[in-house]
Symmetry: C2
Subunit: 230 residues, 2 copies
DNA sequence: CGCGCTATTTTTAGCAG
DNA sequence: CCTGCTAAAAATAGCGC
Protein backbone atom coordinates (compact mmCIF):
# COMPACT_ATOMS: atom_id res chain seq x y z
CA UNK A 1 0.00 0.00 0.00
CA UNK A 2 2.84 2.38 0.77
CA UNK A 3 5.34 3.59 -1.73
CA UNK A 4 9.04 3.96 -1.17
CA UNK A 5 9.85 7.63 -1.34
CA UNK A 6 12.94 9.12 -2.88
CA UNK A 7 15.09 11.24 -0.67
CA UNK A 8 14.43 14.56 -2.31
CA UNK A 9 12.60 17.68 -1.37
CA UNK A 10 8.88 17.06 -0.76
CA UNK A 11 7.13 19.58 -2.96
CA UNK A 12 3.67 19.28 -1.50
CA UNK A 13 3.77 21.55 1.54
CA UNK A 14 1.28 19.77 3.84
CA UNK A 15 2.99 16.46 3.25
CA UNK A 16 6.35 18.07 3.89
CA UNK A 17 5.13 19.53 7.17
CA UNK A 18 3.76 16.20 8.30
CA UNK A 19 6.91 14.37 7.34
CA UNK A 20 8.98 16.99 9.12
CA UNK A 21 6.99 16.53 12.28
CA UNK A 22 7.06 12.74 12.19
CA UNK A 23 10.70 12.34 11.24
CA UNK A 24 11.76 15.00 13.71
CA UNK A 25 10.14 13.03 16.49
CA UNK A 26 11.74 9.92 15.08
CA UNK A 27 15.21 11.40 15.22
CA UNK A 28 14.71 12.71 18.72
CA UNK A 29 13.53 9.28 19.81
CA UNK A 30 16.52 7.61 18.16
CA UNK A 31 18.82 10.12 19.76
CA UNK A 32 17.42 9.42 23.18
CA UNK A 33 17.63 5.68 22.66
CA UNK A 34 21.24 5.99 21.58
CA UNK A 35 22.15 8.11 24.57
CA UNK A 36 20.57 5.55 26.93
CA UNK A 37 21.71 2.38 25.22
CA UNK A 38 25.29 3.50 24.80
CA UNK A 39 25.63 5.99 27.63
CA UNK A 40 26.56 8.75 25.26
CA UNK A 41 25.84 12.43 25.10
CA UNK A 42 23.66 13.38 22.17
CA UNK A 43 22.30 16.68 20.91
CA UNK A 44 20.16 17.26 17.87
CA UNK A 45 19.47 20.73 16.55
CA UNK A 46 16.91 21.21 13.82
CA UNK A 47 15.73 24.38 12.13
CA UNK A 48 12.53 23.99 10.19
CA UNK A 49 12.19 25.57 6.80
CA UNK A 50 10.30 28.41 8.45
CA UNK A 51 13.24 29.02 10.78
CA UNK A 52 11.69 27.52 13.86
CA UNK A 53 14.11 25.81 16.23
CA UNK A 54 13.69 22.28 17.57
CA UNK A 55 16.36 20.68 19.64
CA UNK A 56 16.84 17.60 21.70
CA UNK A 57 19.68 16.81 24.00
CA UNK A 58 20.30 13.93 26.35
CA UNK A 59 21.60 16.46 28.87
CA UNK A 60 21.61 20.12 27.87
CA UNK A 61 22.06 21.36 24.35
CA UNK A 62 24.23 24.22 25.57
CA UNK A 63 26.43 21.86 27.52
CA UNK A 64 26.83 19.62 24.51
CA UNK A 65 27.65 22.64 22.37
CA UNK A 66 30.20 23.81 24.93
CA UNK A 67 31.74 20.35 24.92
CA UNK A 68 31.72 20.36 21.13
CA UNK A 69 33.53 23.70 21.03
CA UNK A 70 36.17 22.70 23.53
CA UNK A 71 36.61 19.47 21.61
CA UNK A 72 36.99 20.90 18.11
CA UNK A 73 39.35 23.59 19.33
CA UNK A 74 36.37 25.88 19.30
CA UNK A 75 38.45 27.83 21.73
CA UNK A 76 39.49 29.72 18.63
CA UNK A 77 36.48 31.93 18.47
CA UNK A 78 36.01 32.14 22.20
CA UNK A 79 39.16 31.63 24.21
CA UNK A 80 41.37 33.35 21.68
CA UNK A 81 39.00 36.28 21.75
CA UNK A 82 39.35 36.30 25.51
CA UNK A 83 43.11 36.21 25.17
CA UNK A 84 42.98 39.06 22.70
CA UNK A 85 40.77 41.00 25.07
CA UNK A 86 43.17 40.37 27.92
CA UNK A 87 46.11 41.40 25.77
CA UNK A 88 44.34 44.54 24.63
CA UNK A 89 43.50 45.46 28.18
CA UNK A 90 47.15 45.08 29.16
CA UNK A 91 48.03 47.20 26.18
CA UNK A 92 45.62 49.85 27.33
CA UNK A 93 47.07 49.85 30.83
CA UNK A 94 50.61 50.08 29.50
CA UNK A 95 49.74 52.86 27.10
CA UNK A 96 47.87 54.72 29.81
CA UNK A 97 50.90 54.58 32.07
CA UNK A 98 53.22 55.73 29.31
CA UNK A 99 50.83 58.50 28.44
CA UNK A 100 50.60 59.58 32.06
CA UNK A 101 54.38 59.58 32.29
CA UNK A 102 54.80 61.58 29.10
CA UNK A 103 52.11 64.03 30.19
CA UNK A 104 53.85 64.57 33.51
CA UNK A 105 57.22 65.05 31.85
CA UNK A 106 55.71 67.43 29.34
CA UNK A 107 54.12 69.46 32.12
CA UNK A 108 57.47 69.59 33.87
CA UNK A 109 59.13 70.73 30.66
CA UNK A 110 56.52 73.46 30.49
CA UNK A 111 57.32 74.47 34.05
CA UNK A 112 54.07 73.11 35.48
CA UNK A 113 53.51 70.91 38.52
CA UNK A 114 57.01 71.49 39.80
CA UNK A 115 56.05 71.46 43.49
CA UNK A 116 56.79 67.79 43.96
CA UNK A 117 60.27 67.96 42.43
CA UNK A 118 63.31 68.22 44.67
CA UNK A 119 66.21 70.58 44.10
CA UNK A 120 68.29 68.04 42.24
CA UNK A 121 65.45 67.31 39.82
CA UNK A 122 64.80 71.00 39.38
CA UNK A 123 68.42 71.62 38.50
CA UNK A 124 68.42 68.80 35.95
CA UNK A 125 65.18 70.15 34.51
CA UNK A 126 66.64 73.63 34.29
CA UNK A 127 69.65 72.34 32.39
CA UNK A 128 67.34 70.39 30.07
CA UNK A 129 65.27 73.46 29.33
CA UNK A 130 68.41 75.55 28.79
CA UNK A 131 69.72 73.01 26.31
CA UNK A 132 66.31 73.02 24.68
CA UNK A 133 66.10 76.79 24.28
CA UNK A 134 69.59 76.76 22.81
CA UNK A 135 68.53 74.21 20.23
CA UNK A 136 65.32 76.04 19.43
CA UNK A 137 67.17 79.30 18.89
CA UNK A 138 69.83 77.57 16.82
CA UNK A 139 67.21 75.90 14.64
CA UNK A 140 65.38 79.17 14.26
CA UNK A 141 68.59 80.91 13.17
CA UNK A 142 69.26 78.26 10.57
CA UNK A 143 65.70 78.58 9.32
CA UNK A 144 65.97 82.34 9.16
CA UNK A 145 69.29 82.14 7.36
CA UNK A 146 68.00 79.71 4.79
CA UNK A 147 64.88 81.77 4.22
CA UNK A 148 66.98 84.89 3.81
CA UNK A 149 69.30 83.08 1.44
CA UNK A 150 66.32 81.95 -0.57
CA UNK A 151 64.90 85.44 -0.62
CA UNK A 152 68.28 86.90 -1.59
CA UNK A 153 68.68 84.43 -4.40
CA UNK A 154 65.17 85.08 -5.58
CA UNK A 155 65.85 88.79 -5.50
CA UNK A 156 69.06 88.36 -7.44
CA UNK A 157 67.24 86.28 -10.02
CA UNK A 158 64.59 88.95 -10.32
CA UNK A 159 67.18 91.69 -10.74
CA UNK A 160 68.93 89.63 -13.37
CA UNK A 161 65.65 89.03 -15.14
CA UNK A 162 64.83 92.72 -14.96
CA UNK A 163 68.20 93.63 -16.39
CA UNK A 164 67.70 91.28 -19.29
CA UNK A 165 64.24 92.75 -19.89
CA UNK A 166 65.70 96.25 -19.75
CA UNK A 167 68.35 95.35 -22.28
CA UNK A 168 65.74 93.91 -24.59
CA UNK A 169 63.73 97.12 -24.24
CA UNK A 170 66.80 99.22 -24.97
CA UNK A 171 67.46 97.15 -28.03
CA UNK A 172 63.86 97.50 -29.10
CA UNK A 173 63.87 101.26 -28.40
CA UNK A 174 66.96 101.50 -30.60
CA UNK A 175 64.62 100.15 -33.26
CA UNK A 176 62.56 103.32 -32.84
CA UNK A 177 59.12 103.52 -31.21
CA UNK A 178 59.59 103.37 -27.36
CA UNK A 179 59.93 106.49 -25.16
CA UNK A 180 62.93 106.88 -22.77
CA UNK A 181 60.51 107.48 -19.81
CA UNK A 182 59.49 103.81 -19.76
CA UNK A 183 63.08 102.72 -19.33
CA UNK A 184 63.53 105.10 -16.39
CA UNK A 185 60.52 103.52 -14.66
CA UNK A 186 62.01 100.08 -14.97
CA UNK A 187 65.27 101.24 -13.41
CA UNK A 188 63.40 102.66 -10.43
CA UNK A 189 61.59 99.33 -9.94
CA UNK A 190 64.89 97.53 -9.94
CA UNK A 191 66.36 99.80 -7.27
CA UNK A 192 63.39 99.15 -4.95
CA UNK A 193 64.01 95.43 -5.30
CA UNK A 194 67.70 95.71 -4.45
CA UNK A 195 67.04 97.71 -1.32
CA UNK A 196 64.93 94.91 0.20
CA UNK A 197 67.33 92.15 -0.73
CA UNK A 198 70.85 93.05 0.31
CA UNK A 199 72.90 90.42 2.09
CA UNK A 200 73.66 93.14 4.61
CA UNK A 201 70.12 93.10 5.99
CA UNK A 202 70.26 89.32 6.30
CA UNK A 203 73.29 89.59 8.56
CA UNK A 204 71.46 92.10 10.70
CA UNK A 205 68.48 89.82 11.22
CA UNK A 206 70.66 86.88 12.19
CA UNK A 207 72.57 88.93 14.72
CA UNK A 208 69.38 90.21 16.28
CA UNK A 209 67.99 86.74 16.67
CA UNK A 210 71.00 85.23 18.36
CA UNK A 211 71.78 88.04 20.76
CA UNK A 212 68.53 89.79 21.75
CA UNK A 213 65.73 87.30 22.10
CA UNK A 214 63.04 89.86 22.84
CA UNK A 215 63.35 91.10 19.28
CA UNK A 216 62.33 87.81 17.74
CA UNK A 217 58.90 89.02 16.71
CA UNK A 218 60.43 91.87 14.75
CA UNK A 219 62.70 89.42 13.01
CA UNK A 220 59.86 87.21 11.94
CA UNK A 221 57.87 90.22 10.84
CA UNK A 222 60.70 91.24 8.60
CA UNK A 223 60.70 87.74 7.18
CA UNK A 224 56.98 87.85 6.67
CA UNK A 225 57.70 90.21 3.78
CA UNK A 226 58.24 87.28 1.53
CA UNK A 227 58.35 87.72 -2.18
CA UNK A 228 55.72 85.06 -2.67
CA UNK A 229 58.03 82.13 -2.15
CA UNK A 230 56.49 78.62 -1.74
CA UNK B 1 15.28 -14.98 15.65
CA UNK B 2 15.80 -11.39 16.78
CA UNK B 3 14.75 -10.09 20.12
CA UNK B 4 13.21 -6.76 20.89
CA UNK B 5 15.64 -4.95 23.13
CA UNK B 6 14.72 -2.76 26.05
CA UNK B 7 15.92 0.80 25.98
CA UNK B 8 18.41 0.62 28.75
CA UNK B 9 22.17 0.65 29.00
CA UNK B 10 23.77 -2.23 27.12
CA UNK B 11 26.04 -3.89 29.62
CA UNK B 12 28.02 -6.01 27.26
CA UNK B 13 30.71 -3.67 25.94
CA UNK B 14 31.26 -5.14 22.44
CA UNK B 15 27.54 -5.17 21.77
CA UNK B 16 27.28 -1.60 23.05
CA UNK B 17 30.05 -0.49 20.74
CA UNK B 18 28.46 -2.12 17.76
CA UNK B 19 25.06 -0.71 18.56
CA UNK B 20 26.60 2.70 19.04
CA UNK B 21 28.19 2.54 15.65
CA UNK B 22 25.10 1.29 13.85
CA UNK B 23 22.63 3.60 15.50
CA UNK B 24 24.93 6.56 15.13
CA UNK B 25 25.02 6.00 11.39
CA UNK B 26 21.27 5.52 11.48
CA UNK B 27 20.70 8.86 13.14
CA UNK B 28 23.04 10.65 10.80
CA UNK B 29 21.24 9.12 7.87
CA UNK B 30 17.85 10.09 9.29
CA UNK B 31 19.15 13.58 9.89
CA UNK B 32 20.35 13.91 6.34
CA UNK B 33 17.06 12.58 4.97
CA UNK B 34 15.14 15.04 7.10
CA UNK B 35 17.24 17.97 5.96
CA UNK B 36 16.70 17.02 2.32
CA UNK B 37 13.07 16.01 2.47
CA UNK B 38 11.98 19.06 4.45
CA UNK B 39 14.65 21.57 3.47
CA UNK B 40 15.66 22.07 7.04
CA UNK B 41 18.96 22.62 8.78
CA UNK B 42 19.98 19.76 10.99
CA UNK B 43 22.94 19.14 13.24
CA UNK B 44 23.60 16.10 15.38
CA UNK B 45 26.35 16.05 17.95
CA UNK B 46 27.25 12.80 19.66
CA UNK B 47 29.89 12.07 22.25
CA UNK B 48 30.66 8.42 22.72
CA UNK B 49 31.10 7.03 26.18
CA UNK B 50 34.85 7.27 25.65
CA UNK B 51 34.55 10.97 24.92
CA UNK B 52 35.03 10.75 21.19
CA UNK B 53 33.11 13.27 19.12
CA UNK B 54 30.90 12.42 16.17
CA UNK B 55 28.85 15.04 14.48
CA UNK B 56 26.73 15.43 11.42
CA UNK B 57 25.33 18.59 9.97
CA UNK B 58 23.38 19.29 6.83
CA UNK B 59 25.49 22.45 6.41
CA UNK B 60 28.14 23.15 9.03
CA UNK B 61 27.84 22.19 12.65
CA UNK B 62 29.40 25.50 13.67
CA UNK B 63 26.93 27.43 11.57
CA UNK B 64 24.03 25.53 13.09
CA UNK B 65 25.44 26.16 16.56
CA UNK B 66 25.82 29.85 15.77
CA UNK B 67 22.25 29.95 14.56
CA UNK B 68 21.16 28.08 17.68
CA UNK B 69 22.95 30.60 19.89
CA UNK B 70 21.55 33.61 18.13
CA UNK B 71 18.14 31.96 18.41
CA UNK B 72 18.35 31.25 22.12
CA UNK B 73 19.97 34.61 22.91
CA UNK B 74 23.28 32.97 23.63
CA UNK B 75 24.87 36.00 22.06
CA UNK B 76 25.47 37.35 25.55
CA UNK B 77 28.84 35.83 26.29
CA UNK B 78 30.09 36.07 22.74
CA UNK B 79 28.94 39.29 21.16
CA UNK B 80 29.49 41.30 24.30
CA UNK B 81 33.06 40.05 24.39
CA UNK B 82 33.47 41.07 20.78
CA UNK B 83 32.11 44.51 21.58
CA UNK B 84 34.51 44.81 24.47
CA UNK B 85 37.37 43.78 22.23
CA UNK B 86 36.36 46.32 19.62
CA UNK B 87 36.11 48.99 22.27
CA UNK B 88 39.50 48.10 23.71
CA UNK B 89 41.09 48.21 20.28
CA UNK B 90 39.66 51.67 19.69
CA UNK B 91 41.02 52.63 23.08
CA UNK B 92 44.43 51.36 22.12
CA UNK B 93 44.40 53.31 18.87
CA UNK B 94 43.30 56.48 20.62
CA UNK B 95 45.92 56.10 23.35
CA UNK B 96 48.62 55.37 20.79
CA UNK B 97 47.80 58.54 18.94
CA UNK B 98 47.78 60.60 22.10
CA UNK B 99 51.05 59.04 23.14
CA UNK B 100 52.60 59.78 19.78
CA UNK B 101 51.41 63.36 20.01
CA UNK B 102 52.75 63.80 23.53
CA UNK B 103 56.04 62.21 22.55
CA UNK B 104 56.42 64.57 19.64
CA UNK B 105 55.58 67.60 21.76
CA UNK B 106 57.98 66.45 24.44
CA UNK B 107 60.76 66.08 21.89
CA UNK B 108 60.00 69.56 20.62
CA UNK B 109 60.12 70.90 24.14
CA UNK B 110 63.52 69.25 24.49
CA UNK B 111 64.65 70.95 21.30
CA UNK B 112 64.64 67.75 19.24
CA UNK B 113 63.14 67.08 15.81
CA UNK B 114 62.70 70.77 15.11
CA UNK B 115 63.48 70.51 11.38
CA UNK B 116 59.86 70.18 10.35
CA UNK B 117 58.68 73.21 12.31
CA UNK B 118 58.22 76.52 10.56
CA UNK B 119 59.38 79.85 11.90
CA UNK B 120 56.09 80.68 13.54
CA UNK B 121 56.01 77.38 15.40
CA UNK B 122 59.64 77.83 16.42
CA UNK B 123 58.88 81.26 17.85
CA UNK B 124 55.95 79.92 19.85
CA UNK B 125 58.09 77.05 21.07
CA UNK B 126 60.82 79.45 22.08
CA UNK B 127 58.39 81.53 24.11
CA UNK B 128 57.03 78.37 25.73
CA UNK B 129 60.49 77.24 26.73
CA UNK B 130 61.32 80.71 28.03
CA UNK B 131 58.20 80.72 30.16
CA UNK B 132 59.13 77.25 31.32
CA UNK B 133 62.66 78.12 32.37
CA UNK B 134 61.31 81.14 34.24
CA UNK B 135 58.95 78.89 36.17
CA UNK B 136 61.62 76.32 36.86
CA UNK B 137 63.99 78.96 38.21
CA UNK B 138 61.23 80.52 40.27
CA UNK B 139 60.27 77.17 41.75
CA UNK B 140 63.87 76.42 42.46
CA UNK B 141 64.30 79.73 44.26
CA UNK B 142 61.29 79.05 46.42
CA UNK B 143 62.60 75.62 47.22
CA UNK B 144 66.01 76.99 48.07
CA UNK B 145 64.50 79.70 50.23
CA UNK B 146 62.37 77.28 52.18
CA UNK B 147 65.27 74.88 52.62
CA UNK B 148 67.46 77.71 53.86
CA UNK B 149 64.73 78.84 56.19
CA UNK B 150 64.44 75.33 57.51
CA UNK B 151 68.19 75.06 57.94
CA UNK B 152 68.35 78.45 59.64
CA UNK B 153 65.61 77.49 62.03
CA UNK B 154 67.24 74.17 62.70
CA UNK B 155 70.55 75.96 63.32
CA UNK B 156 68.89 78.41 65.70
CA UNK B 157 67.26 75.54 67.55
CA UNK B 158 70.58 73.78 67.81
CA UNK B 159 72.29 76.92 69.09
CA UNK B 160 69.52 77.36 71.62
CA UNK B 161 69.85 73.76 72.66
CA UNK B 162 73.62 74.11 72.95
CA UNK B 163 73.26 77.21 75.08
CA UNK B 164 70.94 75.40 77.41
CA UNK B 165 73.37 72.49 77.62
CA UNK B 166 76.20 74.92 78.30
CA UNK B 167 74.29 76.56 81.09
CA UNK B 168 73.55 73.22 82.63
CA UNK B 169 77.23 72.36 82.48
CA UNK B 170 78.17 75.66 84.06
CA UNK B 171 75.71 75.00 86.81
CA UNK B 172 77.08 71.52 87.25
CA UNK B 173 80.67 72.75 87.21
CA UNK B 174 79.72 75.20 89.96
CA UNK B 175 78.96 72.04 91.91
CA UNK B 176 82.70 71.27 91.69
CA UNK B 177 84.22 68.47 89.53
CA UNK B 178 84.39 69.73 85.88
CA UNK B 179 87.37 71.48 84.33
CA UNK B 180 86.97 74.93 82.65
CA UNK B 181 88.64 73.58 79.42
CA UNK B 182 85.53 71.51 78.53
CA UNK B 183 83.33 74.59 78.60
CA UNK B 184 85.67 76.42 76.20
CA UNK B 185 85.39 73.56 73.71
CA UNK B 186 81.64 73.79 73.73
CA UNK B 187 81.71 77.52 73.00
CA UNK B 188 83.95 76.95 69.98
CA UNK B 189 81.53 74.38 68.60
CA UNK B 190 78.71 76.82 68.92
CA UNK B 191 80.58 79.50 66.97
CA UNK B 192 81.23 77.14 64.04
CA UNK B 193 77.51 76.45 63.84
CA UNK B 194 76.55 80.10 63.69
CA UNK B 195 78.99 80.84 60.85
CA UNK B 196 77.34 78.30 58.54
CA UNK B 197 73.78 79.39 59.31
CA UNK B 198 73.51 83.15 58.98
CA UNK B 199 70.53 84.54 57.11
CA UNK B 200 73.05 86.67 55.22
CA UNK B 201 74.40 83.65 53.30
CA UNK B 202 70.86 82.60 52.44
CA UNK B 203 70.25 85.95 50.71
CA UNK B 204 73.43 85.49 48.70
CA UNK B 205 72.37 82.11 47.42
CA UNK B 206 68.98 83.37 46.31
CA UNK B 207 70.51 86.30 44.45
CA UNK B 208 73.01 84.11 42.65
CA UNK B 209 70.29 81.77 41.44
CA UNK B 210 68.02 84.41 39.95
CA UNK B 211 70.68 86.48 38.18
CA UNK B 212 73.50 84.19 37.06
CA UNK B 213 72.24 80.82 35.90
CA UNK B 214 75.66 79.34 35.36
CA UNK B 215 76.24 79.41 39.10
CA UNK B 216 73.35 77.13 39.93
CA UNK B 217 75.57 74.15 40.66
CA UNK B 218 77.44 76.09 43.30
CA UNK B 219 74.15 77.06 44.91
CA UNK B 220 72.94 73.48 45.14
CA UNK B 221 76.33 72.39 46.43
CA UNK B 222 76.03 74.88 49.25
CA UNK B 223 72.63 73.49 50.02
CA UNK B 224 73.94 69.99 49.98
CA UNK B 225 75.56 70.77 53.29
CA UNK B 226 72.39 69.83 55.07
CA UNK B 227 72.36 69.30 58.77
CA UNK B 228 70.72 65.93 58.40
CA UNK B 229 67.22 67.26 57.75
CA UNK B 230 64.55 64.78 56.54
C1' DC C 1 36.42 -0.97 13.66
C1' DG C 2 34.17 -2.61 9.36
C1' DC C 3 30.69 -5.62 6.19
C1' DG C 4 26.96 -8.84 5.23
C1' DC C 5 23.11 -11.61 6.45
C1' DT C 6 18.39 -12.51 8.36
C1' DA C 7 14.63 -12.27 11.36
C1' DT C 8 12.42 -8.98 13.84
C1' DT C 9 11.28 -4.51 15.33
C1' DT C 10 10.70 0.19 14.27
C1' DT C 11 9.72 3.89 11.43
C1' DT C 12 6.96 6.14 8.44
C1' DA C 13 4.10 7.55 4.01
C1' DG C 14 -0.37 8.09 2.94
C1' DC C 15 -4.78 8.72 4.33
C1' DA C 16 -8.72 9.76 7.49
C1' DG C 17 -10.42 12.17 11.40
C1' DC D 1 -1.13 21.25 14.84
C1' DC D 2 -2.23 16.55 16.57
C1' DT D 3 -3.97 11.19 16.57
C1' DG D 4 -4.63 6.59 14.65
C1' DC D 5 -4.45 3.25 11.12
C1' DT D 6 -2.04 0.14 7.75
C1' DA D 7 1.14 -1.57 4.70
C1' DA D 8 5.54 -0.76 3.01
C1' DA D 9 10.13 0.56 3.93
C1' DA D 10 13.85 1.11 6.92
C1' DA D 11 16.57 0.16 10.88
C1' DT D 12 18.72 -2.94 13.63
C1' DA D 13 20.06 -7.03 17.06
C1' DG D 14 22.61 -10.89 16.86
C1' DC D 15 25.51 -13.52 14.42
C1' DG D 16 29.65 -14.77 11.47
C1' DC D 17 33.55 -13.18 8.86
Amino acid sequence: MNEKIKIRRIDYLPARQVTFSKRRRGIFKKAEELSILCESEVAVIIFSQTGKLFDYSSTSTKDVIARYKSHTGGEKSDQITLHQLQSEKENTIRLSKELEDKTRKLRHMKGEDLQDLDLDQLNKLEKLVEVSIGRVIKTKEKKIMSEIMALTNKGAELIEANNQLKQRLVMLSAGGDIEPAAIMELENLNNVGEEGMTSESATNVTACSSSALSLEDDCSDILSLKLGLP
